[in-house]
């Protein structure tokens, strides 16, 4: 009605991926049931009911799975996972060398992944963002962040 995630145009989602996601939801439901079964009395009611519902609803999704490739507005599979991998690397680096220092590598890398090849624009955008973030978060809000390799902190 309001939102239809599976569109006629966009990036493809193959049946195998939809099957894998439905099975992952069922597996998560199984874990919830297992944990619920270890609880005593009324603490167990909701986890068991919720986990069982997740398994049953996944079974319905699997039963209704067709062989057609659907379309989504979300990022393409490979680019999305590469983006998430880069975000994970950024978070790891941020803990070691600070958020703003890690941003100097992260912004250009992600912009290139997004297909931007205007290097001057990327460089200017990165420097402007890091300075702005430093002024806002470190100076104006004085938020305590992990120590920065550059820009003090």
């Amino acid at each position: 009605m309001a939102v239809e995630p599976e569109k006629l145009e966009g990036n493809p989602v193959r049946p195998l991926e939809r099957l894998a996601v439905a099975l992952a939801v069922a597996l998560a439901g199984g874990v919830v049931v297992w944990d619920g079964a270890r609880q005593a009395g009324a603490s167990a009611y909701f986890p068991i009911a919720v986990g069982s519902a997740m398994i049953a609803l996944s079974a319905v999704s699997v039963a209704r799975l067709d062989r057609e490739t659907r379309m989504t507005e979300e990022a393409p599979l490979v680019r999305g996972f590469v983006g998430l991998g880069m975000l994970a690397a950024f978070i790891f680096l941020a803990g070691q060398i600070g958020f703003l220092t890690a941003s100097i590598a992260f912004i250009p890398a992600m912009a290139l992944l997004g297909g931007d090849r205007n290097f001057l624009r990327i460089a200017v955008g990165t420097v402007a963002f890091v300075i702005m973030a430093y002024v806002v978060f470190n100076l104006a809000f004085a938020q305590p962040f992990p120590a920065e390799l550059i820009l003090g902190g």
Partner: protein, 494 residues
């Protein structure tokens, strides 16, 4: 009425006014950039609200909500790309007007109509929410249990293409809400020895991951590279011309208010229905789609009229009807405010002040929209590929700032991954959040009701309100079956 008026001075304190101005400007900017929505902007802001006072946080969010709805009209009119999903119907007549060299006129119509819609909606919130609270005061644990179940099922079924996926999303959310210590027995559930989540999962962390990470990733594949040219052409709208649209505003405003109150609907449905009704009511409907100002006015007024009215069930019952309302509720919970009848008696200054903020930001939107038109148009030139990593960095900074724990930044990434994977396969995201909010409410109400009734399950259908809610839940659950039967009959007849 006196209670409503008592909130005005609280909304007019300096910090609140500044927050509303910043929020409204940010909302218009966000809405003007295709791919960025009010939900994303609020998810980004949420972790930073921990250190704000309630009316500063809510004022900023009110501004973002109203501003972004108008902002979405800017690329819809200038480039035929809806900045937000709610602006789809604005493209039908907005773009032809811009192509005819009257872009400024079209933008002014969108602006005044958005303002009219926001005013109608804020007034509806002020008028409808307080009586609803009187009704909610008669609710006990059983009624609250059914209200939570109704909220979850309706939103899940209306937001998903496939009912099973919508309900599965809601169940995932309830499971997330179960993580941590059971408040009644003290036992740990779904913690698996991870001490960091023993106290439960931080709502802001979950909301930021689910609502900000997947759209940022989608922007990496966006065609908006910032090379597009969009200019303000022609003369603007005259005051006298604006008032010829009054009938359109009243019609579309009422449609928007009704759609807003319905759980699971939303601004995109309101905009399209408002446009369709205006076209149906017009004697010269052939002009629609060719640059008729009534088309822009109907769409923009209806999608803004959905805003404040969608908060009526959130404030009065504690049941958010859509993702933005869930984020608003998240902001309140962060401040230690529990939406529902108690909020109106214990924090009347905040709740009524917030209603005024929804009204005041409508007028701020008009002023800022007129003053900053050129700046907002220039936002269309920012390439999406450069904006995406900046959003992800702000998500990470915000999450870290809210709890000072790197573990929560990793948790945000986990929710981002979950949102991305589920959304790709057609699982809606909003029910996950509603599940996490309403799940614990449903469970505690369920267990309290059982304790009060000494385990008698018939207590769940003992009051007229409970029976009415059960009928509503059954009707919502039957909706997909009715729809499926209708489609089959349609297919058989063709």
């Amino acid at each position: 009425m006196v209670e409503v008026l008592s909130g005005l001075p609280h909304a007019l304190i300096l910090d609140s006014i500044l927050a509303m101005i910043v929020g409204t400007a940010a909302g218009i900017l966000v809405g003007a950039i295709p791919g960025l929505t009010a939900t994303l902007a609020m998810a980004l802001l949420l972790p930073f609200t921990y250190t704000m006072s309630p009316l500063v946080a809510l004022g900023m969010m009110a501004g973002i909500y109203n501003g972004s709805m108008y902002g979405g009209a800017i690329p819809a009119i200038l480039m035929r790309i809806p900045g937000t999903p709610s602006a789809v119907a604005t493209t039908f007549d907005g773009y032809p007007l811009a192509q005819a060299g009257r872009a400024k006129y079209a933008l002014h119509i969108a602006l005044v109509s958005s303002t009219a819609g926001s005013i109608i909606s804020a007034l509806a919130l002020m008028v409808i929410a307080p009586p609803l609270v009187s009704l909610a005061l008669q609710f006990g644990p059983t009624e609250y249990f059914w209200v939570a179940v109704f909220g979850l099922t309706s939103v899940s079924l209306l937001l998903a293409g496939a009912p099973a996926k919508g309900l599965a999303s809601a169940m995932i959310g309830v499971a997330v809400g179960l993580v941590g210590m059971d408040m009644m027995t003290g036992s740990e559930r779904l913690v698996f020895g991870i001490r960091h989540i023993a106290g439960g999962i931080d709502l802001a962390v979950m909301l930021t991951g689910l609502f900000a990470v997947p759209p940022a990733l989608a922007m990496l594949a966006s065609s908006a590279n910032g090379d597009g040219r969009a200019d303000l052409t022609g003369a603007g709208l005259k005051v006298r011309e604006a008032f010829t649209l009054t009938k359109t505003w009243i019609r579309s405003g009422l449609i928007g208010v009704v759609i807003g109150i319905m759980p699971g609907a939303g601004g995109n449905l309101a905009g399209i229905l408002g446009y369709a009704e205006e076209k149906r009511a017009a004697k010269d409907s052939a002009l629609f789609g060719k640059g008729d100002p009534r088309g822009i006015a109907a769409s923009e007024c209806a999608n803004n009229a959905d805003n404040a009215s969608s908060l009526i069930p959130t404030l009065a019952l504690g049941v958010p009807g859509n993702s933005v309302a869930a984020l608003m509720m998240g902001a309140m919970l962060i401040q230690g405010l529990n939406p529902g009848p108690a909020l109106f008696s214990q924090h009347a200054d905040v709740v009524y002040g917030f209603m005024w903020q929804m009204l005041i930001t409508a007028f701020l939107m008009l002023g800022l929209g007129l003053i900053g038109a050129k700046l907002f148009v220039n936002m269309l030139r920012i390439p999406a590929a450069l904006l995406a990593p900046m959003i992800l960095i702000i998500c990470s900074l915000g999450t870290y700032a809210s709890t000072n724990a790197m573990a929560d930044v990793w948790l945000m990434l986990g929710f981002g991954l979950m949102g991305y994977v589920l959304s790709r396969s057609g699982y809606p995201i909003a029910p996950i959040v509603l599940g996490a909010i309403l799940g614990p409410m449903a469970e505690s109400s369920f267990r309290q009701a059982l304790l009060i009734a000494r385990g008698d399950p018939l207590s769940f259908v003992s009051s007229p309100i409970s029976i009415a809610l059960v009928i509503a839940v059954v009707a919502i659950l039957a909706l997909p079956l009715v729809r499926g039967r209708g489609r089959k009959n349609e297919a058989a007849s063709t």
